[in-house]
Amino acid sequence: MSDQAQSDAPLRRTSLYEAHKRAGARMVPFTGYEMPVQYSGLVDEHKAVREAVGLFDVSHMGELELRGVYAKQVVNFLVTNDIGKLVDGQAVYTCCCNAEGTILDDLIIYRAASDRFLVVCNASNRAKIVAVFEKAAKDHCEFVDRSDETALIALQGPKAWQVLAQAGDISHLAAMPAFHFGEANLFNVPCTVARTGYTGEDGCEIFCPWDEAPKVWDGLLTVGAPFGIKPAGLGCRDTLRLECKMALYGNDIDETTNPIEAGLSWTIKFEKGDFVGREVLARAKERGVTRKLVGFEMTGRGIARHGYPTKAPEGGEPVGVVTSGSPSPTTGKNIGLAYLPVALTAIGSKFLVDCRGKDVEAVVVKTPFYKRK
């Protein structure tokens, strides 16, 4: 048994660090923060989110605010989706590309008002995205990085909204559709509650002031106890999102991949006008891509992991790479995502995954691997 190497660099902590320790979390370094990877156990937490409700600390994520009459134009020029169509209290998932049409980050953009937008980015990309948005905002609108003052808690699972109803008056939010948000006082803490998530279940993500997060966190665990709430770590966050084929930046998408090959064409709105990467992406769409991100199941004995090469069924040289792979707690199968040459991407296509020198059979399957009823 070999231990995984860990960096000695000083790590930051979220305001929920003490709460995690109290709950028996195993903390690991993650994008510069000391974050809980699991509490009771990955599979146990995964099941809690699928069957009841789980609570995640994702305060490490970045929150950027753009204000001013031109904020909308600035943001819309930087992202592939059309935020011009959002109404107040509505959010959208989007890619943010560079001029080469490859992905700088995937984001959720929230329209708080016609002149106020919130951009939520991956913690690993915060510095990069801050630089891009700050530069674009210069002379056009106000830009503030709110990440260090904003905590983010995700309450996810079929019972999430029942738990939330115990946390404060949310009657005005209860009928809110997905990708909408509103304000609410939870345990007397002013929060923004968005019907979004990264697990494939119903639920919400709660923004609150950094120092007040423990009040919201502890409160939710207390009122959620009769519903079977469990604190849930980054470990199950990854298996939950993978089962729903939600891309993980740094694994499935990065600056070497474009949204079309990543299966994120639906986030590109060419008709909205000019935006960074538009020209290259339009050309890529017209010509077609050479590889695509597909979901697969292992049919042989092996677990695919990030970075394992993929091969044609007859073997030979690698033709692609696994970007995410794991046993799926919900389906019981070993699943994954991989970039494959277009010729191998039809549902039912067989290929091989080179699991540390051993070629193991896999088959392309329909995604998502799991869809809630």
Binding site: M1, S2, D3, G41, V43, P327, N334, R356
Partner: protein, 132 residues
């Protein structure tokens, strides 16, 4: 770490394998501590009977939902038994790291290497030290 189960009748490696000597045979598995670190074990890949192992060299892998770890041979020898049940029920390792989750039995030519392994007290100390 004092609450982790470390049976006194076994010997250990710093990589968290345990070994149990019985004549010229050594039963090998991974410790409760290792299992706790790995979480839910989903795949155990072991060598075939007859494979010759060298002390300190990787002989197989154990995978949990999140990670993969190599297994290291505590002693040199020949694999004479493999826990075939683990192929279809890797969770046996979670259920009993020191008993039904055993992995292989080695036949060793020279059992003196066994005394070079950590005893329970030294292994406990090793766990305490690596926790800080």
């Amino acid at each position: 770490m004092s609450n982790v189960n470390v049976p006194d009748d076994l010997r250990y490696t710093k990589d968290h394998e345990w070994a149990k000597l019985d004549g010229n045979k050594v039963r090998v598995g991974i410790t409760s501590f290792a299992v706790e670190q790995l979480g839910d074990i989903t795949l155990v890949d072991l060598p075939k009977v007859g494979t010759k192992l060298e002390a300190g060299k990787a002989f197989g892998t154990v995978e949990s939902v999140k990670t993969l770890s190599d297994l290291y041979a505590p002693m040199s020898g020949t694999v004479v038994e493999v826990n075939e049940a683990l192929a279809n029920a890797p969770e046996l390792v979670n259920e009993g790291a020191f008993d039904k989750g055993w992995m292989i039995v080695l036949e060793v030519a020279d059992s003196t290497g066994f005394d070079g392994l950590l005893d329970a007290a030294s292994y406990r100390k090793h766990l305490d030290e690596s926790a800080h």
